[in-house]
C-alpha cells in the first residue's frame, strides 16, 4: 500500500504507523464518563470508507487523516491532520 503524503509525496506504507479512527473527538475535560469511555475504548469496525490517523514517522512526522476503503485499501484522500484539526472540524460538524 502507498500513501500520498501531502508533505512528502507517495511513499510506501512501511514509512507510516497506523493509529486508528480519525472521526473521534476528544471530549471536553468535564465530559461525562460514558463520553470518555466511547473516546478511549469503543471503536467501529466499518467495512468500507473509513477516516483514520496515520503517522509519517519515517518521513515528515506529520499526522495524516487518510480516507481508506477497508475492503479494498483504496485511498480516496490523504490530508494533514493539523489542517483538518484547524479548519476541517467546523465542516464535519463536531
Amino acid at each position: 500500500m502507498r500513501l500520498n503524503c501531502p508533505c512528502c509525496g507517495p511513499r510506501g506504507v512501511e514509512e507510516f504507523t497506523y493509529r486508528g479512527d480519525a472521526t473521534l473527538r476528544r471530549p471536553a475535560p468535564d465530559a461525562a464518563a460514558p463520553d470518555w469511555v466511547d473516546y478511549v475504548y469503543l471503536r467501529d469496525n466499518p467495512a468500507g470508507w473509513h477516516r483514520e490517523l496515520w503517522y509519517h514517522g519515517a518521513g515528515c512526522h506529520a499526522w495524516l487523516v487518510v480516507t481508506r476503503d477497508t475492503r479494498t485499501h483504496e485511498i480516496a484522500d490523504v490530508a494533514r491532520a493539523v489542517d483538518i484539526a484547524r479548519h476541517g472540524r467546523e465542516n464535519t460538524g463536531s
Binding site: 502507498r2 510506501g12 479494498t72 493539523v82
Partner: protein
C-alpha cells in the same frame, strides 16, 4: 543424430534448439552420475537429453515420476540442488538452469530413485486417501505417535533443507515505472513495444532466463521468420529505448495495494556461486502506474488411469523441449488431446524424427486439422477415443487405447504427450480477491475483474492465437502508456500463422468398471486422484475451498497450477453442477515459491535490526565493558576490573564508588526533546499530570505522563532553559513513542498551541556524574565562571554552561542514584572526549565508570520506578504518585485516571521489600501472598517488579506492588517464586531504602 554418442534408443538431441548453444558442452551430476549438457539447458531438458526420464518419487505413494512440464508449473520434477550450506530442496528441474558443475539429487526416494522401498506405500494407499491427515488424527494418540506419524514422516518428505546457515547474500530493491509488463511472450513484447515507444518508463519482467515465451517453444513464423527470431528483434528494439528496462530471471509474484508489485530476481541461481558481493537473489518492489499481465498460459494434463508415469508429459512442454532445447523426449509417441493445439505436438515430433504411433482425440467429431495431422505424421487417429490405462514400471512403455466403439488396443510408446487445453495464467489478477469467470467457449477461467491499474493481455486474458496475443498486447500497451500520460501510435505488428484451437468441453474421468482400480491423478504433486475428489464430495466437501483443504489438491510448491481446473471439473460432475457454478479457488501471492532468505534480504543476524551505539561505546569497549541491549541501544552494563571474578563483585564496587566517592555513567540513551514556543508551558501542562507554569528558568522538574486511558505512559525530567525553552527527557524505552504522542497532541488535539519541538536524543551526549566528590570533579571540567556551589546551583538546577574553556554544554543537577549528582550534556561528538577527560580529572577523587546494572541497583535503593514499574499496567496511584495529579488543569489521562477502580486502595501499590532472613534472595517476578496463604491465584496480592543485592544495605532489596501496600508497612508477606518453587518471608516497607530525607542530595 546424437550429440553425446549415447547408444540408447532414447538419445534425443536433435542438434537444434533455439535456446541452447550446441557448440559448448558443460557437465552436471544427477544422483551422483555425471552428464553432459549445453549452456541454455534447464536441468529438465538436460535430463531428458540424457535419456533420464525418472526425476523423483511422488509425495504419498512414492510412485516413479518424470518431468511433466517445461515451466514453473512443474509438480513432479522437484530436486535438491547443490550441497552443504547451499543445498536447496524442492527446486523445479524445469526452471533450473544448468551450469558447469551443478549438483542435483532426486528427492523422496530411499534407497535410490530406481529402487524405492517405500514404493510399497501403494499397498498402504487406503490410508492416504482424501483427508488422510484429518482421519489419522482421529486414531488413538499412541497409535498416531508410534505408528502413523513416523510412517508418514518417513514417507512424505519433500526434500531436505540445508543444515547450515545460508552463506549467500540477498538484497532488496525498489523501482518505479509507468508500465509494468509481466511476461515476454508475443503479448508482453507487443505491449512493451507499444508502451516503450511512447516514452513511458517500462519495466518488462520475464521469469525465464530468456525472452520470447512460447515463441521459443513453437515453430510458427512471424513475418516469415521463426517467432523466436522476431522476439529477438523485438528485444533489440526495446533495448534501444532508454526508458525501457528488461529484467529476465525475474518473476513478478504478487500484486499488492497501490500499484505495488513484488518480484524475485534470481541473480546468481544460474552460476555455481555468486561473485563476491553479488546477491543470490534480489527481492524487488516495483511501483507501477499500470501493469499488463502477459503471463501466458499453463496447459492442463489429461486425467486418465496411469497418467503419472515418467514419459507422460504436457504436449506443449514436448514442443518446448524439441524447439527450444533441441531435445526429443521420446522416440515413439502417443498424442492424447481434447483440442487442436495438442495436435501441433504430433507435427513437431514427426518433424524432429520421432514416430507418432497414435493420436487419441477425445472430441466426438473428427476435425479437419486432426485429419490433416494424422495423415502428415502417419499416426493412427482415434477420434472419440480415450487412454484407458498405461504400462511401464519406471516409465511408460505402452498405452491401452479405447476407441469410440469401446474396443481397447495396446500401442507401444515411450512418450504420451497430453493436452487438456490451456488455462490462462491469471494468478496476479486475483491477488486482490477477484475471482475469474469460466468461459465455456474457451473451456477456461479468464480474468474479468482486475486490481486497479492492472490489465491482462494475450493467453493470460484468453486470447489464444499468436495474432490475437500480438494485437491485444500492443493495444493494451498503448492504452496503459496513455493512461500514464504518454501517447503513441500502435507499433506495426508481424503477420502470424493461422491457428485453430477447437476445444469443445472438459470431461471428468469416466466412471466405469475398467478404471475402478487405477489411479488417475489430478494433482501430481500431492498425489490427489480423481477418486479422492469423488470421495471428498461424497463426504460433503462440495466447495472448492473445502476440497482443497481436505484433499490437499492445489497446495504445496506448485499451488495446483496444473491441477486446479481438472479438480473443479471432477468436483462439478460429482456434485451435479456445471464448472462455472462450481467456482475456483483464490490465488494468493506468491505466484511462485519465494525463498525466506530473499524476503529477509539483508536483515539477518546483527543486521536484523539497527544497533544504536552511545557516544562512549568505543571508549567503553576499550575499558572492557560488558554491553547489554536496551531497545536498539547497546549500553555498558558494567566495567569489570582485574581480580573481579563475578559480575556482582563489579557492580557492588561500582555502587560503592558512587556512594563513597564519584562515578559516571553514559545516560545518552534517555530520550531528549527540545521544546520551544510561547505555548511551551501550556503544552507541558497538558502532557504531564503535574504543574509546569511556575517552573522558573534554570530549574528542572520530575514529570509523569499518562495515556488517555489513565495509566502511566512515561516519566522523566524537564528543565526550563529559557522563558520559552524547555528540554524534556524521556525513558530510553519510550523515547520514540513519547515523540509520536507529542506530535499527535500538537497536530491533532491542540493545533492552536504555538509550540515546536524536535528530538535531540542523538545530538547530545549526556553523563550522570554522581557521588560525594562529583562537584570536585566538575570543577575541573566546567569553566570557572560558573558557580557550582550548592547555594548557587542547587538540587534540580539547570543551566547552559561552558566547559573546557568555552565549549557550550548543558548542566543539570539531577540524581537518579540519590547522591550529589549532575548530568552534563555536550554535543554528541565530544562524548568520547568527555569520558576520557572525566577519567583523567576524576582519578584523584577515585572516579570509576558505572554501567546500567549499578544504575539499577542504586535506583532500587532509592525507590525510583523504572521500566519494570512503568509497565503500562500501573497508575499514578499504584506508583504512590497519585497526589501529583493536578486538579486545576486538563491533561492527557486526567478523566480516565479518576475512575474509582484506578485509585482503589486494594490495587497493588508500590512498596519496598526485604527478606526476613538476610540470606534469602528476592527475585523479580515473584508473587506476593499473605502469610500462611496457599500459593494459588486466589491469594495473589501482588508481585515483585525489581530486585537487587544492595551493597549499601548489605542485603537483598526489592520493589513490588502489593495490594493496599502503603497501609501494610511493617507486615510480613510471603514471596513465592513459582519457577524455583521457593517461598520466602519478606518485610513490607516504604519503597525508598536509602536516605529517605534526601540529605545526600542537598549538599
Amino acid at each position: 543424430m546424437t550429440l553425446f554418442g549415447r547408444k540408447t534408443a532414447a538419445a534425443p538431441r536433435t542438434g537444434g534448439g533455439n535456446g541452447v548453444d550446441p557448440a559448448r558442452v558443460i557437465h552436471f551430476t544427477f544422483d551422483g552420475v555425471r552428464y553432459p549438457a549445453h549452456p541454455g539447458d534447464t536441468l529438465a531438458s538436460a535430463l531428458l537429453a540424457n535419456g533420464q526420464r525418472l526425476a523423483g518419487r511422488s509425495f504419498k505413494y512414492h510412485r516413479p515420476r518424470g518431468i511433466l512440464s517445461a515451466g514453473p508449473e512443474e509438480p513432479n520434477a522437484l530436486v535438491e540442488l547443490r550441497t552443504g550450506a547451499r543445498r536447496e530442496p524442492n527446486s523445479r528441474a524445469t526452471v533450473t538452469e544448468v551450469y558447469d558443475g551443478l549438483v542435483a539429487c532426486s528427492q523422496n526416494r530411499w534407497p535410490s530413485l530406481r529402487m524405492d522401498a517405500l514404493g510399497v506405500n501403494g499397498l498402504f494407499s487406503p490410508i492416504f486417501t482424501a483427508g488422510f491427515y484429518y482421519k489419522t488424527f482421529m486414531w488413538p494418540a499412541p497409535f498416531w505417535e508410534k505408528v502413523y506419524e513416523p510412517l508418514i514422516r518417513r514417507a512424505a518428505g519433500l526434500g531436505r533443507a540445508a543444515d547450515e546457515a545460508d552463506p549467500d547474500l540477498y538484497e532488496k530493491a525498489t523501482t518505479f515505472c509507468d508500465v509494468l509488463v509481466v511476461g515476454s511472450g508475443p503479448a508482453g513484447l507487443a505491449a512493451a513495444l507499444a508502451a516503450g515507444r511512447s516514452g513511458a518508463r517500462v519495466v518488462l519482467c520475464e521469469q525465464d532466463s530468456v525472452t520470447g515465451g512460447r515463441l521459443r517453444a513453437e515453430r510458427g513464423e512471424l513475418d516469415g521468420v521463426p517467432g523466436w527470431q522476431w522476439a529477438r528483434q523485438a528485444m533489440d528494439s526495446l533495448r534501444q529505448m532508454p526508458e525501457v528496462r528488461i529484467m529476465t530471471r525475474t518473476c513478478v509474484f504478487g500484486a499488492y495495494d497501490g500499484g505495488t508489485y513484488g518480484a524475485l530476481e534470481r541473480v546468481a541461481d544460474h552460476v555455481a556461486m555468486p561473485a563476491a558481493g553479488q546477491p543470490r537473489q534480489r527481492l524487488w518492489r516495483i511501483v507501477a502506474g499500470r501493469c499488463i499481465v502477459a503471463s501466458g498460459g499453463i496447459e492442463r494434463p489429461m486425467v486418465f488411469v496411469g497418467n503419472d508415469r515418467p514419459g507422460i508429459m504436457l504436449a506443449g512442454a514436448v514442443r518446448t523441449y524439441i524447439n527450444r532445447f533441441g531435445v526429443v523426449p521420446g522416440r515413439r509417441a502417443v498424442i492424447y488431446t481434447n483440442n487442436d493445439d495438442g495436435l501441433r505436438t504430433a507435427t513437431d515430433l514427426a518433424h524432429a524424427g520421432a514416430v507418432v504411433a497414435a493420436i487419441v482425440d477425445t472430441r466426438a467429431t473428427q476435425t479437419a486439422r486432426a485429419t490433416q495431422v494424422a495423415r502428415e505424421t502417419g499416426a493412427k487417429l482415434f477420434t472419440g477415443g480415450a487412454i484407458a490405462a498405461t504400462y511401464g514400471r519406471l516409465g511408460v512403455q505402452a498405452a491401452a487405447i479405447r476407441d469410440r466403439s469401446g474396443r481397447v488396443q495396446h500401442i507401444a510408446c515411450d512418450l504420451i504427450a497430453m493436452s487438456g487445453g490451456w488455462n490462462p495464467e491469471l494468478s496476479l489478477t486475483t491477488h486482490h480477491g477477484a475471482k475469474p469467470s469460466y468461459n465455456a467457449a474457451l473451456c477456461a477461467f479468464v480474468p474479468t475483474t482486475f486490481p486497479p491499474g492492472m490489465q491482462a493481455a494475450g493467453v493470460a486474458n484468453g486470447a489464444f492465437t499468436t495474432a490475437a496475443c500480438l494485437r491485444e498486447g500492443a493495444e493494451q500497451g498503448q492504452a496503459a502508456a496513455a493512461a500514464c500520460g504518454f501517447a503513441a501510435d500502435l507499433p506495426a505488428l508481424p503477420a502470424a500463422d493461422a491457428e485453430s484451437y477447437g476445444i469443445e468441453s472438459l470431461q471428468p474421468l469416466p466412471r466405469d468398471r475398467s478404471v475402478k482400480d487405477g489411479k488417475a491423478f489430478i494433482d501430481f504433486q500431492n498425489d490427489v486422484t480423481a477418486r479422492d475428489v469423488r470421495l471428498a464430495a461424497q463426504e460433503g466437501f462440495r466447495s472448492v475451498e473445502h476440497l482443497k483443504r481436505y484433499t490437499t489438491l492445489g497446495m504445496a510448491t506448485d499451488q495446483g497450477k496444473t491441477a486446479n481446473v481438472n479438480g473443479i471439473v471432477q468436483l462439478a460432475q460429482q456434485t451435479g453442477r456445471d464448472i462455472a457454478s462450481t467456482g475456483t479457488t483464490m490465488f494468493r501471492p506468491p505466484v511462485q515459491p519465494v525463498a525466506i532468505g530473499a524476503i529477509a534480504g539483508a536483515h539477518t543476524g546483527t543486521h536484523f535490526k539497527p544497533t544504536r551505539l552511545t557516544p562512549t561505546h568505543e571508549w567503553a569497549r576499550q575499558q572492557g565493558a560488558a554491553f547489554t541491549a536496551n531497545g536498539l541501544w547497546q549500553r555498558a552494563q558494567w566495567f569489570a576490573q582485574p581480580g573481579e571474578s563475578h559480575w556482582r563483585d563489579t557492580v557492588n564496587r561500582e555502587v560503592r564508588t558512587v556512594r563513597t566517592a564519584v562515578g559516571f555513567c553514559d545516560v545518552t540513551t534517555l530520550g531528549k526533546i527540545d521544546i520551544q514556543g510561547p505555548d511551551a508551558a501550556t503544552f507541558l501542562e497538558r502532557l504531564y499530570v503535574n504543574a509546569w507554569r511556575k517552573l522558573p528558568v534554570g530549574r528542572a522538574r520530575y514529570g509523569l505522563m499518562l495515556r488517555e486511558d489513565g495509566f502511566v505512559f512515561d516519566d522523566g525530567t524537564t528543565a526550563r532553559l529559557g522563558p520559552q525553552h524547555y528540554v524534556m527527557t524521556t525513558t530510553t524505552a519510550h523515547a520514540g513513542a513519547v515523540m509520536q504522542h507529542m506530535e499527535l497532541c500538537h497536530q491533532w488535539l491542540w493545533p492552536e498551541l504555538d509550540v515546536h519541538f524536535i528530538s535531540v536524543t542523538d545530538e547530545w551526549a549526556q553523563f550522570a556524574i554522581a557521588g560525594p566528590r562529583a562537584r570536585d570533579v566538575l570543577r575541573h571540567v566546567v569553566d570557572p565562571d560558573f558557580d557550582l556551589s550548592h547555594e548557587a546551583f542547587g538540587y534540580m538546577g539547570a543551566a547552559e554552561v561552558t566547559i573546557c574553556g568555552g565549549q557550550a554544554a548543558r548542566l543539570f543537577r539531577l540524581s537518579f542514584s540519590g547522591e550529589l549528582a549532575f548530568e552534563l550534556a555536550v554535543p554528541a561528538r565530544y562524548g568520547d572526549a568527555l569520558a576520557r577527560l572525566l577519567m583523567k580529572v576524576g582519578a584523584p577523587y577515585g572516579i570509576a565508570p558505572y554501567g546500567t546494572e549499578a544504575l539499577g541497583v542504586m535506583r532500587i535503593e532509592k525507590g525510583h520506578p523504572a521500566g519494570p514499574e512503568l509497565n503500562g499496567q500501573t497508575t499514578a496511584h499504584d506508583l504512590g504518585m497519585g497526589r501529583m495529579l493536578s486538579g486545576k488543569k486538563d491533561f492527557i489521562g486526567r478523566a480516565m485516571a479518576a475512575r474509582p477502580a484506578l485509585t482503589d486502595a486494594s490495587r497493588p501499590t508500590l512498596v519496598g521489600l526485604r527478606p526476613v532472613s538476610p540470606s534469602d534472595e528476592l527475585v523479580a517476578g515473584s508473587h506476593l501472598l499473605p502469610r500462611g496463604a496457599e500459593a494459588t491465584g486466589a491469594h495473589d496480592q501482588g508481585w515483585i517488579s525489581s530486585a537487587a543485592w544492595s551493597p549499601t544495605l548489605d542485603g537483598w532489596i526489592a520493589l513490588g506492588f502489593l495490594s493496599d501496600g502503603p497501609a501494610r508497612h511493617g507486615e510480613t508477606v510471603m514471596v513465592h517464586n513459582p519457577l524455583a518453587g521457593s517461598v520466602v518471608a519478606a518485610t513490607v516497607g516504604p519503597p525508598v531504602f536509602l536516605d529517605p530525607e534526601g540529605a545526600r542530595l542537598h549538599v
